[in-house]
């Protein structure tokens, strides 16, 4: 198993203790295309943060590819994030004063890859996502779909084991949303990238092969969605 969570608990102690995750058990295999669905407050974002090593958990165990992710130093966590995980965010999170290609280069910069080599690689990935002509543009000169594709290129450039997408279509219109989801499924099918999408949109979840429902900090039903018939609205399009 690529990802294994065993009895993961997480409590926030901001004044009133808030038990957000109440014993999560979840396994995701390499090459899977999974969505985690839940209403707001269900704990799905917390789960994503833990999966992405952005946050730590209280009890339980979390393994990526057999490696226990627990009690890491900041430096170690940063290194794991850099090498194992690619992030796609709802609001793209591109750095505004850097061009598209510079944004894509950034993860390689933190790996210590040389200037020309990382530029070449970033151009390669932008080209694959059809953005070669936009390489020297700044994020505010691009459309939402383009920005998200730059973000995907940035997430892919380190060749990570897991691609974590947090509401990847949340800021996009339905047409662009569909394009992005198609891009993700293509990446999953053709390149075998393991993708975990967190969403509250059933249409988005319907694009994935497996839907994990989370409610009140507990994993509920795990739906097999290889037929992509989970959502009555999501058969052919993403409803907005």
């Amino acid at each position: 198993m690529l990802i294994e969570l065993k009895g993961v608990n997480k409590t926030y102690n901001n004044g009133q203790p808030l038990h957000v995750l109440k014993g999560i058990d979840l396994s995701i295999d390499s090459g899977e295309f999974v969505s985690i669905m839940g209403a707001s407050g269900s704990g799905k974002s917390t789960l994503l943060n833990i999966l992405g090593i952005l946050d730590n958990y209280d009890t339980g165990e979390y393994h990526i590819d057999g490696r226990l992710i627990k009690g890491l130093s900041e430096k170690q966590a940063a290194d794991y994030r850099n090498r194992l995980i690619g992030f796609i965010f709802q609001s793209f999170n591109l750095i505004g004063f850097k061009t598209a290609v510079e944004n894509v280069e950034l993860p390689l910069f933190y790996q210590g890859v040389g200037r020309s080599r990382r530029h070449q690689m970033a151009m390669e990935y932008l080209d694959r996502l059809g953005l070669a002509d936009w390489a020297s543009h700044y994020p505010n000169e691009m459309s939402g779909g383009q920005k998200q594709r730059v973000a995907i290129a940035r997430a892919l450039i380190t060749n990570p084991k897991i691609l974590l997408a947090d509401e990847p279509t949340g800021a996009l219109d339905s047409k662009t949303s569909e394009e992005v989801m198609q891009l993700l499924s293509r990446l999953n099918r053709q390149e075998g990238v393991t993708i975990i999408v967190v969403t509250h949109e059933s249409g988005v979840a319907n694009c994935t092969d497996k839907i994990v429902h989370i409610k009140d900090g507990i994993i509920g039903e795990i739906e097999d969605n290889r037929e992509h018939r989970a959502s009555m609205f999501g058969v052919n399009t993403i409803m907005k």
Binding site: G52, N93, G96, P107, F109, Y110, Q111, R115, R154
Partner: protein, 442 residues
């Protein structure tokens, strides 16, 4: 390295005005530091001018009047040094410290040459005096051992006196007297001093041959002519008496050692003259070494004080930079969150802020330093060249009011430390940003 500077440049470019305003405070701080130190150096240099005219390991000893009764004698009695004091000084008692001893006898009189005459004094000296007082010879030579041995009637005149003796009016008289004409006006209208060498001047009723001319400087006495000790003593019949005693010494490195030595020496001489051993007025000791030591101490205190003032001025600039860096960190929290999510280690974030802080501080500091040095140069060219007249003496207010390379290097070090200090807290804050919170921040 290039990547770091690219990042810094990107950040600074976005906030040009704010960075410049903050940088100005740093420039001002370093500017003040450099100008203060430069002016301080100028003042000290002006003050110390001439102190290198003496060798620093010399003591002058002269006699005065007793200030307290001792051995049955009343106070106010005149003490006169004599040959036996010289013997005592040269003797085995102080041989561990004392090297050369020079005794002087002097007499005053009118020095006449041709029609000109000036009043002055003739000091009988030994050749060693030249080294002790760093007497520089302009023309001819100083008194030598042969002069002493043969009791020659030779004299070394000071430059200023020669100028008077060779002054206008003497040309005509010289020509009229039918002597070898004095070549008073040289090629460029200057007085030809050398023409007096080998000539005779009259001092009192006797003729003395001029063998040398000393160079004038601020510390020298323009009325004192040097003659052989033995000659003056013989001619003016001073007997055993001497006027002044000078000696060079070694092995007294600290102020305490010098004080101890002076105390012992004073006691020894005073007791010979039946004066109280601790009577400071009976025997004057002018120790150039301790005087120099105290001057250096004063110089160090002044320089330290100026550094402190300068650094406090700089502190304002540092606080400004620190403040701006805090704002930068606050503004870039979201960006740092992104960077951390895609793998930036805390140290790489810290490095970014620290490097930016040091770059701003160092750059603006250097601008301030350059301007400061420029102002020092201007001071040197203006105030440094002027002097004012105090009691017939030309006193420069500032002499070479500039700072050296050492100060520039120290200031550079200060800037780097200051920049790091200014960036330290903001950088730590940036490194502590938690990625999930930072990503939430807008």
């Amino acid at each position: 390295m290039r990547d770091v500077f690219t990042e810094i440049w990107e950040s600074i470019r976005r906030n040009k005005l704010r960075t410049c305003l903050t940088g100005f405070a740093v420039s001002w701080g370093i500017f003040m530091l450099i100008v203060l130190l430069g002016a301080g150096n100028g003042l000290m240099n002006a003050f110390m001018t001439g102190s290198d005219e003496f060798s620093t390991n010399t003591m002058n000893v002269g006699a005065g009047r007793t200030s307290k009764p001792y051995d049955g004698l009343k106070e106010g009695r005149r003490v006169v040094l004599d040959d036996r004091d010289v013997e005592l000084t040269e003797g085995p008692r102080f041989e561990d410290y004392i090297d050369d001893v020079v005794a002087t006898v002097s007499t005053s009189g009118v020095i006449t040459y041709g029609r000109k005459h000036v009043s002055g004094s003739v000091e009988g000296n030994y050749p060693a005096r030249q080294e002790m007082d760093r007497i520089r010879i302009r023309y001819g030579r100083f008194i030598n051992d042969k002069d002493i041995r043969d009791r020659r009637k030779v004299v070394v005149l000071p430059e200023a006196m020669v100028e008077n003796l060779l002054g206008e009016g003497n040309v005509a008289s010289g020509a009229r007297l039918g002597r070898r004409s004095f070549n008073v006006s040289g090629e460029n209208g200057q007085v030809d001093y050398a023409s007096i060498i080998g000539e005779y001047v009259r001092i009192g009723s006797m003729s003395w041959r001029v063998v040398g001319i000393t160079e004038s400087n601020r510390m020298s006495d323009d009325n004192v002519c040097y003659a052989p000790y033995t000659t003056v003593k013989t001619i003016y019949g001073k007997g055993q008496e001497i006027d002044e005693l000078l000696f060079t010494f070694h092995g007294l490195e600290s102020e305490e050692a010098n004080e101890a030595f002076e105390k012992e020496y004073r006691a020894a001489i005073n007791l010979r003259h039946r004066a109280a051993p601790d009577d400071r007025r009976a025997l004057w000791i002018w120790n150039r070494f301790t005087q120099n030591l105290q001057m250096n101490k004063g110089r160090n205190i002044l320089s330290t004080a100026l550094w402190i003032i300068g650094l406090f001025t700089l502190l304002g600039g540092i606080v400004g930079v620190s403040n701006i860096m805090l704002i930068t960190v606050k503004e870039r929290t979201h960006e740092f969150g992104i960077r951390k999510a895609i793998g930036a280690s805390p140290w790489s974030i810290t490095k970014l802020i620290l490097a930016e802080s040091v770059t701003i501080t160092a750059f603006f500091g250097y601008v301030g330093m350059l301007v400061g040095m420029l102002v020092c140069e201007v001071l040197d060219k203006t105030l440094g060249q002027s002097s004012m007249s105090v009691m017939d003496e030309q006193i420069s207010m500032l002499v070479n009011p500039t700072v050296g390379l050492d100060v520039a290097l120290e200031a550079t070090l200060v800037l780097i430390i200051a920049g790091s200090l200014a960036g330290f807290f903001p950088a730590r804050k940036a490194a502590q940003v938690r990625p999930i919170e930072a990503l939430r921040a807008e």
